[in-house]
């Protein structure tokens, strides 16, 4: 064992992430992550996820043409090429879906694939001596991230953050209700193209870290995670930016340690955050929902046990056998023991050595509340919902567990004394004056 560990160069391993290269690339991708996250909120809310994908692909011809003209991959050339291509994409999509009956998603598909195709042809037709790294464009290549890329992001990120903050209110209005926004004089189309422009610029700057194919994940995934966590747009933007930046830093660091491709590692981190949120979000989380359902089920079963014991004990028959309770409630014997243990702890019933149950005084009160609830709901279902007397029992078995509405049902029915089956309805705890 020791042998294996001693073979790994720990010092090298641990220090590798914090080299100068790491700083440069991580800072650059963190800025990309934050910017993509913030812009992603609008992409997600305006249902433009497909456009995000389209923009990232469609900038290829712009980048290649800029490369052809300037003969290098300088910032200004690349950025303006990408911006022009991005805006052209947005305008073309708009034109095609407005001027014909082509649906918007189809026009997006047509426009970005054709621009991407033109880009590929341009790359293959580049004059001798010029080499454009298509693979880097597609999959990203963190080794190619240089000081210029960092400089680019150092400019783009604050610009995007400043614009989205300054234009927060019109952007919110135009995204929520574009028609009313236009009626109020918000320049809806200008804002749309501004968003598209910012998105193209960010995508181009992020290309070297993640590549065309994966950059859209940084736009959509952190914003979608944030969307599940909050009901406020401002908080959603902050969270999405944080998630984007976090995925970028964590992904970049892990990729330095493991030598995995950085873009892919960042996307996996972003998806992991989304997955966690999906499972654990307080309002939407799958796990939380399941937990709540379990708890509700447990309460329902506890109440059913109390009710069954109540129904099956009278003067003379003071105890009710556990077997009978499992048969009536269809709760397994094992689970029943757990339920009984809890009810005993709450002093609602006793269990004797013969496996028989008896309600305490407090237990009887709880059971009577159940009976009252059940009979009131039966009355409500027949009188207000017009159901047949024979059919109401089963529904009332469910509804009786909704205690907070019982008094209202009682008031609504005018405090009835008997249920549709002719049985007495026990009075409530605090009888309301009628």
């Amino acid at each position: 064992m020791l042998d294996i560990f001693s073979q790994i160069d720990f010092q090298h391993w641990l220090l590798r992430p914090f080299s100068e290269r790491w700083w440069q690339e991580t800072l650059c991708s963190m800025l990309v992550g934050v910017t993509c996250g913030v812009l992603g909120c609008y992409v997600v809310l305006r249902r433009m996820a497909l456009i995000g994908d389209a923009l990232s692909h469609a900038v290829l011809p712009g980048v290649v043409i800029a490369f052809l003209i300037t003969n290098n991959t300088g910032i200004v050339g690349l950025l303006s090429g990408a911006l022009l291509a991005g805006l052209l994409t947005a305008v073309l999509i708009n034109l095609i879906s407005r001027a014909s009956r082509t649906k918007e998603d189809s026009s997006i598909g047509i426009v970005f694939t054709s621009l991407f195709a033109i880009g590929i042809i341009l790359v293959s037709a580049l004059p001798r001596g010029l080499h454009f790294d298509l693979k880097c464009f597609l999959f990203g290549d963190p080794l190619a991230v240089g000081a210029t890329d960092l400089l680019l992001m150092v400019i783009i990120c604050p610009v995007v953050l400043a614009l989205t903050t300054a234009l927060y209110h019109p952007l919110k209005l135009a995204s929520f209700d574009p028609v009313v926004a236009a009626a109020m004089g918000v320049p809806v189309m200008t804002l749309h193209y501004l968003l598209m422009g910012m998105l193209s610029a960010t995508v181009v700057a992020g290309l070297k870290t993640t590549g065309v194919i994966l950059v859209v994940a940084l736009v959509i995934t952190p914003a979608s995670a944030a969307y599940l966590l909050t009901n406020r747009l401002s908080r959603m933007m902050i969270l999405a930016g944080a998630f984007g930046g976090l995925s970028a830093v964590a992904g970049m660091t892990l990729s330095f340690v493991t030598n995995w491709p950085s873009g892919a590692t960042m996307v996996v981190f972003a998806t992991a955050i989304f997955g966690l949120v999906l499972l654990l979000s307080p309002s939407q989380g799958i796990v939380i929902k399941m937990f709540r359902r379990r708890k509700m089920q447990w309460i329902v079963e506890c109440e059913d046990v109390l009710k069954t014991v109540y129904r099956n004990t009278h003067e003379g028959i003071e105890w009710c056998n556990l077997r009978l309770v499992t048969n009536v409630t269809r709760i397994s014997l094992r689970r029943l023991h757990a339920i009984v243990a809890q009810l005993e702890k709450k002093h609602l019933l006793h269990l004797n050595s013969d496996n028989e149950l008896q309600l305490t005084a407090a237990g009887r009160i709880r059971a009577l509340e159940m009976v009252r609830s059940h009979r009131l709901w039966e009355s409500y279902l027949t009188e207000r919902a017009g159901m047949a007397v024979a059919d109401v029992h089963e529904q009332a078995e469910q509804l009786e567990h909704v205690h907070e509405l019982v008094d209202e049902v009682d008031r609504n029915l005018g405090h009835p004394r008997v249920d549709p089956h002719g049985e007495t309805i026990p009075p409530g705890k605090k009888p309301t004056p009628s």
Partner: protein, 261 residues
């Protein structure tokens, strides 16, 4: 024709014509609205009622005609017009609270185009929004997320947003569709209050039961069949024309013409 800049006619449409693809959606619509009145646009589904509202707001390309609000083109007088769309036109899962939505009505309260974009709602705006919510009986809901509202409450939020725009003309698209009785009562009393205050209201409905509440009715089926006080305009004959057959021959002729162009 004399120039009517600075006119006191709140809304004046002349010869509005709108078409979609190869069919006319609205043909030569002309009318005027007076201050302090409630006008109802009534007609069957597909009659172009919502289209007319959007055309009046300058949100659709016009084939012909023009619209003036107080003598000015609508695009130059947007602050005086509020629009309440049908409530299913927006995403009610959007991350905003009730107060956020109402505050959106305070956009554009500046003469500078740039400042309109950059201005943030302040204390005055917040007060106006809360007052509008109170008028619609929605004060208790102001911090709720809009997802948690019933249909009637959603409609009231939209009305509160329009109300705090403090506009002089209100265009309401089917505000009474799918709302509860309580909301309906609140909406009608709001309408009474607004018309009494001299505002001009134009309301779209596919339901004839509101006829007796209107000062003026416009029977619309791609063209104006009749316009005037309900008892004069909403005659049996006019209603039959509105809800009866379309001008099938004219439709076909127009389709043929657009193909020849």
């Amino acid at each position: 024709m004399a120039s009517d800049a600075g006119s006191t006619i709140p809304l004046h449409a002349r010869n509005l014509t709108v078409s979609f693809a190869d069919r006319a959606a609205l043909r030569s619509i002309s009318f005027q609205l007076q201050s302090g009145t409630l006008t109802g646009i009534i007609g069957p589904n597909g009659a172009g009622k919502s289209t007319l509202l959007r055309a009046l707001l300058g949100l659709l390309p016009l084939d012909a005609g023009n619209v003036k609000a107080f003598g000015l083109p609508v695009a130059k007088n947007r602050q005086r017009i509020a629009y309440v769309p049908q409530k299913q036109t927006v995403d009610w899962d959007f991350p905003v609270t009730v107060l956020d939505v109402v505050l959106m009505g305070r956009y554009g309260r500046s003469n500078s185009r740039l400042w309109r974009l950059l201005r943030r709602p302040g204390e005055t705006d917040r007060l106006a929004a809360e007052q509008a919510l109170a008028q619609l009986g929605m004060s208790d809901f102001k911090d709720r997320h809009i997802r948690q509202l019933s249909g009637g409450q959603q409609q009231r939020v939209f009305l509160a947003r329009a109300l705090c725009q403090e506009a002089d003309i209100l265009l309401l698209d089917e505000p009474l569709t799918g709302v509860d009785v309580a909301t309906e009562e609140i909406i009608f009393s709001l309408i009474d209050k607004l018309t009494a205050a001299g505002k001009t209201l134009l309301l779209v409905s596919h339901d004839l039961s509101i006829l007796d509440r209107l000062h003026q009715v416009m029977l619309l089926n791609r063209r104006i069949i009749a316009i005037g006080p309900p008892e004069q305009a909403a005659t049996k004959n006019n209603l039959r024309q509105t809800y009866g057959g379309r001008l099938a021959l004219l439709d076909q002729a127009e389709a043929a013409l657009t193909k020849m162009k």
